[in-house]
Symmetry: C2
Subunit: 174 residues, 2 copies
Protein backbone atom coordinates (compact mmCIF):
# COMPACT_ATOMS: atom_id res chain seq x y z
CA UNK A 1 0.00 0.00 0.00
CA UNK A 2 1.09 3.56 -0.73
CA UNK A 3 -0.24 6.25 1.61
CA UNK A 4 -0.29 9.85 0.42
CA UNK A 5 -0.58 12.46 3.13
CA UNK A 6 -1.97 15.42 1.22
CA UNK A 7 -1.81 18.74 3.04
CA UNK A 8 -3.40 21.64 1.25
CA UNK A 9 -5.68 23.97 3.24
CA UNK A 10 -7.58 25.02 0.11
CA UNK A 11 -7.50 22.08 -2.30
CA UNK A 12 -10.13 23.73 -4.53
CA UNK A 13 -7.86 26.72 -5.12
CA UNK A 14 -4.86 24.58 -5.98
CA UNK A 15 -3.86 24.13 -9.58
CA UNK A 16 -0.51 22.35 -9.34
CA UNK A 17 -1.25 20.16 -6.35
CA UNK A 18 -4.64 19.04 -7.57
CA UNK A 19 -3.19 18.17 -10.97
CA UNK A 20 -0.41 16.15 -9.35
CA UNK A 21 -2.92 14.40 -7.12
CA UNK A 22 -5.24 13.61 -9.98
CA UNK A 23 -2.41 11.93 -11.85
CA UNK A 24 -2.03 9.29 -9.15
CA UNK A 25 -5.53 9.02 -7.73
CA UNK A 26 -6.59 5.97 -9.74
CA UNK A 27 -3.55 3.88 -8.94
CA UNK A 28 -4.18 0.55 -7.24
CA UNK A 29 -3.11 0.00 -3.67
CA UNK A 30 -2.90 3.69 -3.00
CA UNK A 31 -4.77 5.77 -0.44
CA UNK A 32 -4.89 9.57 -0.41
CA UNK A 33 -5.49 11.08 3.00
CA UNK A 34 -6.41 14.74 2.60
CA UNK A 35 -5.43 16.07 6.00
CA UNK A 36 -7.16 19.47 5.91
CA UNK A 37 -10.43 17.85 4.81
CA UNK A 38 -10.12 15.02 7.32
CA UNK A 39 -9.10 17.17 10.28
CA UNK A 40 -10.55 20.70 9.91
CA UNK A 41 -10.09 21.28 13.65
CA UNK A 42 -6.63 19.66 13.76
CA UNK A 43 -7.87 16.79 15.98
CA UNK A 44 -5.74 14.17 14.30
CA UNK A 45 -6.79 10.56 14.89
CA UNK A 46 -3.33 9.33 15.76
CA UNK A 47 -4.26 5.68 15.85
CA UNK A 48 -5.91 5.80 12.43
CA UNK A 49 -2.90 7.60 10.97
CA UNK A 50 -0.47 5.13 12.46
CA UNK A 51 -2.56 2.20 11.21
CA UNK A 52 -2.44 3.65 7.69
CA UNK A 53 1.34 3.93 7.93
CA UNK A 54 1.80 0.42 9.29
CA UNK A 55 0.25 -1.18 6.23
CA UNK A 56 2.17 1.01 3.75
CA UNK A 57 5.49 0.34 2.08
CA UNK A 58 5.71 3.90 0.77
CA UNK A 59 4.65 7.14 2.44
CA UNK A 60 4.19 10.34 0.43
CA UNK A 61 4.10 13.84 1.86
CA UNK A 62 2.48 16.11 -0.73
CA UNK A 63 1.86 19.79 -0.07
CA UNK A 64 2.60 23.34 -1.18
CA UNK A 65 5.59 24.92 0.61
CA UNK A 66 4.40 27.40 3.25
CA UNK A 67 7.04 29.47 4.98
CA UNK A 68 9.88 27.25 3.77
CA UNK A 69 8.31 24.17 5.30
CA UNK A 70 5.22 22.00 5.46
CA UNK A 71 1.79 23.55 6.18
CA UNK A 72 0.79 23.76 9.86
CA UNK A 73 -1.44 20.70 9.84
CA UNK A 74 1.23 18.45 8.34
CA UNK A 75 3.69 19.77 10.93
CA UNK A 76 1.12 18.94 13.60
CA UNK A 77 0.79 15.48 12.02
CA UNK A 78 4.57 15.04 12.34
CA UNK A 79 4.36 16.06 16.02
CA UNK A 80 1.42 13.78 16.88
CA UNK A 81 1.89 10.75 14.65
CA UNK A 82 5.66 10.34 14.46
CA UNK A 83 6.11 9.76 18.17
CA UNK A 84 8.57 7.84 20.28
CA UNK A 85 7.61 4.17 20.52
CA UNK A 86 6.04 4.27 17.07
CA UNK A 87 8.47 6.08 14.78
CA UNK A 88 11.68 6.04 16.82
CA UNK A 89 13.09 5.10 20.21
CA UNK A 90 12.32 1.86 22.00
CA UNK A 91 9.77 -0.12 20.03
CA UNK A 92 9.58 2.66 17.46
CA UNK A 93 10.29 0.46 14.48
CA UNK A 94 7.11 0.88 12.48
CA UNK A 95 8.50 3.11 9.75
CA UNK A 96 11.87 1.41 9.48
CA UNK A 97 12.81 0.68 5.87
CA UNK A 98 9.66 2.22 4.40
CA UNK A 99 10.14 4.65 1.54
CA UNK A 100 9.36 8.32 1.92
CA UNK A 101 8.59 10.49 -1.08
CA UNK A 102 8.32 14.26 -0.73
CA UNK A 103 6.24 16.03 -3.37
CA UNK A 104 6.01 19.77 -3.04
CA UNK A 105 5.28 22.96 -4.96
CA UNK A 106 6.68 26.44 -4.51
CA UNK A 107 5.40 29.81 -5.63
CA UNK A 108 8.72 31.30 -6.60
CA UNK A 109 10.86 30.12 -9.45
CA UNK A 110 14.39 28.86 -8.89
CA UNK A 111 16.01 32.30 -9.21
CA UNK A 112 14.13 33.31 -6.04
CA UNK A 113 16.01 30.53 -4.24
CA UNK A 114 19.50 32.03 -4.49
CA UNK A 115 21.58 34.00 -2.02
CA UNK A 116 20.72 37.22 -3.85
CA UNK A 117 17.12 36.23 -4.54
CA UNK A 118 13.83 36.75 -2.77
CA UNK A 119 14.34 33.79 -0.46
CA UNK A 120 18.06 34.46 0.20
CA UNK A 121 18.91 30.75 0.19
CA UNK A 122 19.04 27.89 -2.24
CA UNK A 123 16.01 25.63 -2.12
CA UNK A 124 18.26 22.88 -0.78
CA UNK A 125 18.75 24.93 2.41
CA UNK A 126 15.18 24.15 3.36
CA UNK A 127 15.34 20.41 2.69
CA UNK A 128 17.21 19.07 5.77
CA UNK A 129 14.36 19.53 8.25
CA UNK A 130 11.97 17.50 6.08
CA UNK A 131 14.48 14.90 4.93
CA UNK A 132 15.90 14.34 8.40
CA UNK A 133 12.38 13.86 9.81
CA UNK A 134 12.01 10.87 7.51
CA UNK A 135 15.53 9.58 8.06
CA UNK A 136 15.29 9.86 11.84
CA UNK A 137 12.36 7.41 11.59
CA UNK A 138 14.56 5.04 9.59
CA UNK A 139 12.79 5.70 6.31
CA UNK A 140 14.48 5.55 2.93
CA UNK A 141 14.45 9.07 1.45
CA UNK A 142 13.62 9.06 -2.25
CA UNK A 143 14.61 11.88 -4.59
CA UNK A 144 11.81 14.40 -4.04
CA UNK A 145 9.54 15.83 -6.73
CA UNK A 146 9.74 19.61 -6.50
CA UNK A 147 7.59 21.81 -8.72
CA UNK A 148 8.88 25.39 -8.66
CA UNK A 149 6.87 28.37 -9.83
CA UNK A 150 3.65 26.45 -9.42
CA UNK A 151 1.49 29.50 -10.16
CA UNK A 152 2.89 30.09 -13.60
CA UNK A 153 4.30 26.78 -14.76
CA UNK A 154 2.92 25.71 -18.14
CA UNK A 155 0.33 22.96 -18.37
CA UNK A 156 2.81 20.87 -20.35
CA UNK A 157 5.55 21.18 -17.75
CA UNK A 158 3.09 20.43 -14.98
CA UNK A 159 1.82 17.39 -16.85
CA UNK A 160 5.38 16.22 -17.12
CA UNK A 161 5.83 16.38 -13.34
CA UNK A 162 2.49 14.65 -12.87
CA UNK A 163 3.50 11.85 -15.21
CA UNK A 164 6.83 11.40 -13.43
CA UNK A 165 4.95 11.20 -10.15
CA UNK A 166 2.56 8.60 -11.48
CA UNK A 167 5.31 6.53 -13.07
CA UNK A 168 7.40 6.61 -9.94
CA UNK A 169 4.56 5.48 -7.67
CA UNK A 170 3.57 2.85 -10.18
CA UNK A 171 7.09 1.48 -10.23
CA UNK A 172 7.12 1.36 -6.43
CA UNK A 173 3.69 -0.20 -6.04
CA UNK A 174 3.81 -3.89 -5.39
CA UNK B 1 5.76 46.43 23.62
CA UNK B 2 7.43 43.03 23.35
CA UNK B 3 5.20 40.14 22.30
CA UNK B 4 6.30 36.60 23.11
CA UNK B 5 4.63 33.86 21.11
CA UNK B 6 5.10 30.86 23.34
CA UNK B 7 4.41 27.51 21.71
CA UNK B 8 4.64 24.51 23.99
CA UNK B 9 1.88 21.90 23.81
CA UNK B 10 2.51 20.76 27.41
CA UNK B 11 3.81 23.79 29.32
CA UNK B 12 3.39 21.94 32.65
CA UNK B 13 5.81 19.24 31.54
CA UNK B 14 8.42 21.72 30.37
CA UNK B 15 11.44 22.40 32.54
CA UNK B 16 13.67 24.52 30.31
CA UNK B 17 10.97 26.49 28.53
CA UNK B 18 9.03 27.30 31.68
CA UNK B 19 12.21 28.44 33.39
CA UNK B 20 13.09 30.68 30.48
CA UNK B 21 9.58 32.06 30.40
CA UNK B 22 9.54 32.71 34.14
CA UNK B 23 12.71 34.76 33.84
CA UNK B 24 10.99 37.31 31.60
CA UNK B 25 7.38 37.17 32.76
CA UNK B 26 7.53 40.16 35.10
CA UNK B 27 9.13 42.53 32.61
CA UNK B 28 7.23 45.70 31.85
CA UNK B 29 5.72 46.25 28.44
CA UNK B 30 5.83 42.56 27.63
CA UNK B 31 3.00 40.20 26.77
CA UNK B 32 3.28 36.42 26.70
CA UNK B 33 0.82 34.72 24.40
CA UNK B 34 0.75 30.99 25.14
CA UNK B 35 -0.54 29.65 21.85
CA UNK B 36 -1.44 26.10 22.88
CA UNK B 37 -3.42 27.40 25.87
CA UNK B 38 -5.06 30.14 23.85
CA UNK B 39 -5.94 28.01 20.84
CA UNK B 40 -6.44 24.38 21.91
CA UNK B 41 -8.41 23.71 18.73
CA UNK B 42 -6.01 25.67 16.50
CA UNK B 43 -8.67 28.29 15.68
CA UNK B 44 -6.25 31.19 15.72
CA UNK B 45 -7.82 34.64 16.08
CA UNK B 46 -5.85 36.20 13.25
CA UNK B 47 -7.00 39.74 13.91
CA UNK B 48 -6.07 39.58 17.61
CA UNK B 49 -2.65 38.17 16.74
CA UNK B 50 -2.01 40.82 14.13
CA UNK B 51 -3.10 43.54 16.54
CA UNK B 52 -0.60 42.25 19.11
CA UNK B 53 2.14 42.36 16.51
CA UNK B 54 1.25 45.86 15.29
CA UNK B 55 1.87 47.38 18.71
CA UNK B 56 5.14 45.51 19.30
CA UNK B 57 8.67 46.60 18.49
CA UNK B 58 10.05 43.12 19.25
CA UNK B 59 8.51 39.74 18.51
CA UNK B 60 9.77 36.59 20.23
CA UNK B 61 9.15 33.04 19.05
CA UNK B 62 9.81 30.71 21.98
CA UNK B 63 9.29 26.96 21.73
CA UNK B 64 10.95 23.57 21.97
CA UNK B 65 12.24 22.23 18.64
CA UNK B 66 9.92 19.55 17.28
CA UNK B 67 11.07 17.70 14.20
CA UNK B 68 13.76 20.25 13.40
CA UNK B 69 11.26 23.10 13.33
CA UNK B 70 8.57 24.92 15.26
CA UNK B 71 5.66 22.97 16.82
CA UNK B 72 2.59 22.53 14.64
CA UNK B 73 0.56 25.33 16.18
CA UNK B 74 3.32 27.92 15.72
CA UNK B 75 3.70 26.77 12.12
CA UNK B 76 -0.06 27.21 11.71
CA UNK B 77 0.33 30.67 13.28
CA UNK B 78 2.97 31.49 10.63
CA UNK B 79 0.58 30.32 7.90
CA UNK B 80 -2.45 32.23 9.19
CA UNK B 81 -1.00 35.40 10.72
CA UNK B 82 1.97 36.20 8.48
CA UNK B 83 -0.10 36.68 5.37
CA UNK B 84 0.22 38.78 2.25
CA UNK B 85 -1.04 42.31 2.82
CA UNK B 86 -0.05 42.18 6.47
CA UNK B 87 3.45 40.72 6.62
CA UNK B 88 4.61 41.02 3.01
CA UNK B 89 3.43 41.98 -0.46
CA UNK B 90 1.37 45.05 -1.25
CA UNK B 91 0.47 46.83 1.98
CA UNK B 92 2.22 44.14 3.98
CA UNK B 93 4.45 46.51 5.90
CA UNK B 94 3.33 45.84 9.46
CA UNK B 95 6.38 43.87 10.58
CA UNK B 96 8.94 45.92 8.72
CA UNK B 97 11.89 46.89 10.92
CA UNK B 98 10.58 45.09 14.01
CA UNK B 99 13.02 42.83 15.81
CA UNK B 100 12.55 39.06 15.86
CA UNK B 101 14.12 36.95 18.58
CA UNK B 102 14.09 33.16 18.34
CA UNK B 103 14.35 31.28 21.63
CA UNK B 104 14.36 27.53 21.39
CA UNK B 105 15.35 24.36 23.20
CA UNK B 106 16.52 21.04 21.82
CA UNK B 107 16.57 17.58 23.35
CA UNK B 108 19.90 16.49 21.97
CA UNK B 109 23.24 18.01 22.85
CA UNK B 110 25.44 19.61 20.22
CA UNK B 111 27.24 16.37 19.31
CA UNK B 112 23.90 15.06 18.00
CA UNK B 113 23.89 17.94 15.53
CA UNK B 114 26.88 16.83 13.45
CA UNK B 115 27.11 14.99 10.14
CA UNK B 116 27.96 11.78 11.99
CA UNK B 117 25.54 12.41 14.85
CA UNK B 118 21.96 11.47 15.56
CA UNK B 119 20.55 14.38 13.55
CA UNK B 120 23.05 14.09 10.65
CA UNK B 121 23.33 17.86 10.27
CA UNK B 122 24.66 20.80 12.18
CA UNK B 123 22.03 22.73 14.08
CA UNK B 124 22.60 25.65 11.73
CA UNK B 125 21.17 23.55 8.89
CA UNK B 126 17.75 23.92 10.44
CA UNK B 127 17.90 27.66 11.00
CA UNK B 128 17.24 29.07 7.50
CA UNK B 129 13.53 28.23 7.37
CA UNK B 130 12.86 30.08 10.65
CA UNK B 131 15.23 32.97 10.04
CA UNK B 132 14.05 33.54 6.49
CA UNK B 133 10.42 33.59 7.65
CA UNK B 134 11.29 36.62 9.79
CA UNK B 135 13.49 38.24 7.17
CA UNK B 136 10.93 37.80 4.40
CA UNK B 137 8.60 39.93 6.55
CA UNK B 138 11.29 42.61 6.79
CA UNK B 139 12.12 41.89 10.41
CA UNK B 140 15.54 42.33 11.93
CA UNK B 141 16.85 38.89 12.97
CA UNK B 142 18.54 38.94 16.35
CA UNK B 143 21.09 36.34 17.41
CA UNK B 144 18.86 33.51 18.67
CA UNK B 145 18.99 31.95 22.13
CA UNK B 146 19.39 28.21 21.67
CA UNK B 147 19.40 25.89 24.67
CA UNK B 148 20.72 22.47 23.69
CA UNK B 149 20.28 19.33 25.75
CA UNK B 150 17.33 20.89 27.54
CA UNK B 151 16.47 17.64 29.35
CA UNK B 152 19.80 17.33 31.09
CA UNK B 153 21.26 20.81 31.22
CA UNK B 154 22.25 21.86 34.75
CA UNK B 155 20.12 24.32 36.68
CA UNK B 156 23.04 26.73 36.72
CA UNK B 157 23.53 26.62 32.96
CA UNK B 158 19.81 27.00 32.41
CA UNK B 159 19.70 29.96 34.79
CA UNK B 160 22.47 31.52 32.78
CA UNK B 161 20.43 31.26 29.56
CA UNK B 162 17.40 32.61 31.39
CA UNK B 163 19.36 35.59 32.67
CA UNK B 164 20.72 36.33 29.20
CA UNK B 165 17.19 36.18 27.85
CA UNK B 166 15.92 38.58 30.51
CA UNK B 167 18.81 40.99 30.08
CA UNK B 168 18.44 41.00 26.32
CA UNK B 169 14.70 41.75 26.43
CA UNK B 170 15.26 44.36 29.09
CA UNK B 171 17.84 46.10 26.93
CA UNK B 172 15.42 46.06 24.00
CA UNK B 173 12.39 47.24 25.93
CA UNK B 174 11.58 50.85 25.42
Amino acid sequence: MITVLFAHPYPDRSRANSRLLKAISDLDQLEIRSLYERYPTFDIDVEAEQTALRVSHTIVWQHPMYWYSVPGLLKHWFDKVLVRGFAYGEGGVHLLGKRCLWVTTTGGDLTAFTSGGLHAHSFSSFVPAIEQTARFCGMEWLAPIIVHGAHKISDAALDNHALNYRNLLQSLGR
